[in-house]
Amino acid sequence: MTTLTLDAVSRWYGNVVAVNGISMTVGPGVTGLLGPNGAGKTTLIALMAGFLSPSAGTVTLDGEQIWRNTDVYRRVGLVPEREISFGYLTGRQFVLANAELHGLTDPGAATERALEIVEMVDPAGRRIGTYSKGMRQRVKLASALVHDPGVLLLDEPFNGVDPRQRLHLMGLLQRMGAEGRTVLFSSHILEEVEQVARQIEVVVSGRHAASGDFGAIRRLMTDRPVQYVVVSDDDRRLAAALIAEPSVVGVTVRDRGGLDVAVSDLGSFVVRLPLLARGAGVRLVELTPTDESLESVFAYLVSA
């Protein structure tokens, strides 16, 4: 119902390729667009929001082209990175103006609803020029929500926002996603994406590096050995047994106890480990994967 589809989209500026053959589908729920600075995240969001035309490929919302199609904005809410420079308007006036421009039948009520959602009802009477950064972000979000869009695009929404408001914003996005809206936000800060989005799209240097749940992505990266920490009551004996295993690529003894094990074949290792331990008479105390965090996934992808 509200699915953004990018089909082999490229965008170049002269000799510089900002987006290179990216295909992705963004559906309902919260999706995080992750990538280092300059990777092309803002370009992608601009393409999805109809503020940039693809040099090649198509960008569609439920099959409808977005570029030069102002009607599509009835279903799309955009929260750009840029600051609002309408400092002479109050928060309420700004959101109300947005509501009126959407042609809503009751702009006043929609404005109040949107302000309530972002918890900006009290300060809404003050001029935007007097707001803090976090308050301005929330007003921007209110203006994007006022017409109840099915798709919400946010460009670096947590930039410069203080921790309390960040938490609030994250909860808000998760709620939106749970309601069935398609929420896409970009970030280069891993913790933010990790906490809010389950589905991530990783963009590196204009290319689509990975897509999906970050645990699943990790498992797909089979050319890299998976790292585990194994703690037992006799590390050396276990190490000797492990190194003989074909699925184990490397064993390192940690000076604080336990072993760092690099495994190339996860499936067989998981089966063999308990047998090995029993055979060597070693009791296993702890088995922890050490690189299934988003950070390590990201680091692998970015350094590739």
Binding site: T42, A49, R68, T70, L78, F86, Y88, A97, L101
Partner: protein
């Protein structure tokens, strides 16, 4: 009749007068009329009518049009916050037209209107002459406002380019070469003014040409501005 979006017009109006620019906008006609009063008080009727022409029509009118047009479109395009107005189911041509109307009304009120007032102050016995300048100023002002709006949608140096055009092309060269009058917005306005009052000399392009050319430039520039807005792109980290 292209519909105009009331919200955009209202926002443009607030942008124009909510800033320092708005004050200067009103200062210019105040200065003109104040001077006219001063001259009338110190001399007799009819003296100094060239104030209306050489200062009001040639200098003040384009400056007011430039200030108006660059205030309704310039700053928002410059810092990209026009995105908020464009991410709406409103035709970009309607956006451009709505902004133009505000700039146009400001030009008429603070550029053309004062010409009539100053003219009447200086010489109340020849209302037709003042009326001529009012209408001529309205025509030229309409075209100036549209042209500057179009420039503002292209480059943020629109102001300087607009000034160069008015001062160099129309001013300096227009005084030297007669042929410029075919491409001189001010000359077209003067042509219309002279059709109303015989006290005003016509540059000699003919009324039909003057009106048609003004209409073409006006409509073309506003359409152009709308077209530029249709292709507005959001820049990321550059």
């Amino acid at each position: 009749m292209i519909p105009i979006n009331a919200t955009i017009a209202r926002l443009s109006f607030q942008a124009l007068f909510g800033r320092r620019r708005g004050l200067v906008l009103m200062l210019v006609p105040a200065l003109l009329i104040g001077l006219a009063v001063l001259i009338r008080v110190l001399t007799e009727q009819g003296v100094g009518y060239e104030l209306v022409d050489s200062v009001g029509f040639t200098l003040a009118l384009p400056i007011v049009a430039l200030l108006g047009a660059s205030a309704v479109l310039g700053p928002e395009v410059d810092d990209g916050s026009i995105v908020y107005l464009l991410a709406k189911p409103v035709s970009r041509h309607v956006v451009a037209t709505s902004k133009y109307v505000v700039g146009w009304l400001a030009t008429l009120a603070f550029g053309a209107g004062p010409l009539f007032v100053a003219g009447m102050v200086i010489d109340a016995s020849d209302p037709q002459r003042a009326l001529g300048w009012l209408v001529g100023g309205a025509v030229a002002g309409t075209t100036y406002a549209a042209l500057f709006l179009g420039l503002a949608s292209v480059t943020r140096h629109a102001v300087v380019v607009g000034l160069l055009f008015v001062l160099l092309w129309e001013g300096l060269l227009g005084g030297l070469l007669r042929g410029i009058r075919w491409l001189d917005l001010g000359a077209w306005g003067t042509e219309v003014a002279s059709a109303i009052s015989s006290s005003i000399t016509a540059p000699g392009t003919g009324l039909t040409y003057a009106v048609t050319a003004s209409a073409v430039i006006t409509l073309g520039s506003v359409w152009f501005a709308g077209d530029r807005l249709r292709s507005f792109t959001m820049r990321g980290d550059e």
